[in-house]
Amino acid sequence: MGSLSLERVGRLLWLGRYVERSYTTLQFILATYDAALDSVEGNWKGQLEELGFDQENDDPIAFFRECLFSRELTASIYYSMSAAYDNAVVLRDVIGSESVAYVQMALNDIERAEHSDAPLLDLQTVIDCILAFKGSCDDYVVNDAARNIIKCGFSIERMDLYTRLSYQLGDLRRETQKLASRIDRTGLPYDRAAFKELIDAVFSPRFPEKTTYEELGVMLELIARVF
């Protein structure tokens, strides 16, 4: 797998996870914001509260700004992207300056959007940078193991968030397949039993329509155990 210390393996995995966390959470915030436009009565915060955005804030605009730009809330887009940057910047020799640049630009654009009068519009470039980063991994991360570890990070995080939020559960099968095709190419040890159990749950005929809340909880535990 080339020369990758355990610490760098961890950083690669968390780079993938934080980039994906920024991306999926941002999509989720946009969807929740859009729904809130039609109804600011009742639970307009939706499941964002489950992600840790449980600050007492009755002003929707202020609430969503916190979700996006808070330096303190660990689930905010800024916080996640900042954590992704912390990992990317120490991996320049593994992932290449071009790939690091996309993470850097995403963070720069979030900081710029914070001062914009139309932040949600400006955050589109953040999504563009994240997607470009994902593509750049194929071109610039020449170390096979490193590339697959980052991609496994994407998948694990996406599966975790989708399950946690019961969001786009139908896509979990595709994500599980992606993970299955890459996990052995990382060269890393992983919990095969947990992964097998997870595959069984996702590909069960009952999933996702008849899956209970408790069963989703079990799936979350399995996802956490894979690496």
């Binding site: 020369s3 355990l6 912390d86 120490v90 320049r92 020799d93 640049a101 850097q104 720069n108 060269g187």
Partner: protein
């Protein structure tokens, strides 16, 4: 020649931000990363002038390497009375732990950063030799690539020497001294002021960027702690200071060093670039003796001039410094990065008297220099072309042979009239163009 380029200054700076071309700074107990402002107006050095500079730089670095070899073995230069014994060994950069260690291929300073200024008289003066961990090559390297994208005419038609082979040149040096195994760039971590450069150069030379925790020594061999197997390391391009390199040899409290690294180095199992102990030759006081070193080791007259320097260590120099302090620049030899540099003309009489008391009490600690009136370069600031003082850090690489990278880091002062060009004090940088004819 570069008028189109100048108009693109803002865009080039945006691209530099995209690539994270930054340096770190600690202020008020807080770490902050800052962009290093780039000015697109280059320093241009003609072919003939460069050839002269190149010869002078190679000569100087060859003499400095000879001095380090000599100092750490027979110390002939001291026995022959060229450099006072007390002066050589009292240098804070002199490390007794490095005595009698011969580095692989006998090279001590593999990457030398020589700071020069061009005087108003057109003469180049060496201000400082940096033989420990000189930084700054990465900035013009990145900038050149971006500048080429915005001004095809200039780069197609002007006779410029390409500087984008720094990574290949550095790689050649590292490979040349490698003792068997992978190449590693050892960094203290991302909160170091030059972290961008550590990571960027590791990428450029195809080395593994490592922190101390990822390396260990066993049976006097250095290994990289790989997730699946341990890999032998043959060369370490270290980017941390000597005293932190090995807690078992230098500062025991160092958490960023590799225990027993010096044992592996002493056994000849790993090369360390630059060699530990080089501080003994780039001390601001030892600088005074470099012309003598050139004559002593190479039997040649120095091609490059030192700025006129006085050592208060010598009674006649002390007398001169005391009498002329208000027009001299006085430097504390233990300081770096523009700190500890005092212009006598800028001090109030009481402060100057206080400083001179210190000079009298600790003459080895200070040097004094005539203020070199160095040239201003055109600089594009705030939408207009203004003159700014600028220096040049030239990079000299010593491997199979000693060569000078045909470029360098030109740093300029942000404020009109200021001579302080250090990035940590607000300075910016320019590319350095060397003409081929």
């Amino acid at each position: 020649m570069y008028s189109k380029l100048v108009g693109q200054t803002d865009k080039i700076n945006q691209q530099l931000a995209r690539y994270g071309v930054k340096f770190g700074i600690y202020k008020d107990g807080r770490f902050d990363e800052r962009l290093f402002p780039f000015d697109a107006v280059p320093r241009v050095i003609g072919a003939e002038q460069w050839a002269q500079l190149e010869r002078g730089l190679v000569q100087r670095v060859d003499a400095l390497n000879a001095y380090l070899r000599d100092l750490h073995s027979d110390a002939r230069i001291i026995r022959d009375g060229v450099i006072p014994e007390h002066f050589a060994y009292a240098s804070s950069g002199y490390l007794p732990q490095c005595e009698h260690i011969m580095p692989p291929k006998g090279i001590y300073s593999h990457i030398s950063g020589i700071d020069l200024v061009e005087g108003e008289d057109g003469e180049w003066y060496v201000l400082e030799d940096n033989l420990r961990i000189p930084s700054g090559a990465s900035y013009p390297l990145v900038a050149r690539g971006l500048c080429r994208r915005c001004d095809a005419d200039t780069f197609r038609n002007a006779p410029l020497v390409d500087n984008r082979d720094y990574g290949a040149r550095l790689r050649e040096v590292v490979d040349y001294v490698n003792c068997g195994g992978i190449n590693v760039v050892l960094t203290p971590g991302r909160y170091n002021s030059a972290y961008f450069e550590h990571a960027y150069l590791a990428e450029q030379i195809g080395a593994v960027l490592a922190e101390a925790g990822e390396l260990f020594v066993e049976d006097e061999v250095l290994y990289y702690r790989d997730a699946t197997r341990n890999t032998r390391v043959g060369a370490v391009y270290r980017r941390l200071s000597d005293e932190f390199l090995d807690p078992l040899c230098f500062l025991p409290e160092s958490l960023i060093g590799v225990p027993n690294l010096m044992a592996a180095y002493r056994a000849g199992n790993v090369a360390i670039l630059n060699a530990p102990g080089n501080g003994a030759a780039d001390d601001k006081g030892i600088y005074y003796f470099v012309p003598q070193m050139i004559r002593y080791y190479l039997g040649e007259e120095p091609i490059l001039k030192n700025a006129p320097t006085y050592l208060p260590y010598y009674p006649e120099d002390l007398e001169y410094v005391l009498a002329n302090a208000e027009r001299l620049v006085i430097k504390d030899v233990a300081e770096a990065g523009g700190y500890g540099v005092v212009f006598g003309s800028e001090l109030a009489p009481e402060a100057l008297a206080e400083l001179l008391d210190k000079v009298r009490a600790e003459p080895r600690r200070f040097i004094a220099q005539e203020v070199v009136d160095f040239k201003c370069l055109d600089t594009w600031i705030g939408g207009e072309m203004v003159p700014r003082k600028a220096d040049l850090r030239a990079f000299v690489l010593s491997g199979r042979k000693t060569t000078v990278w045909p470029s360098g880091l030109t740093r300029y002062a942000r404020e009109a009239g200021s001579c302080v060009v250090n990035s940590s004090q607000g300075g910016g940088f320019k590319d350095t163009w060397v003409l081929s004819r």
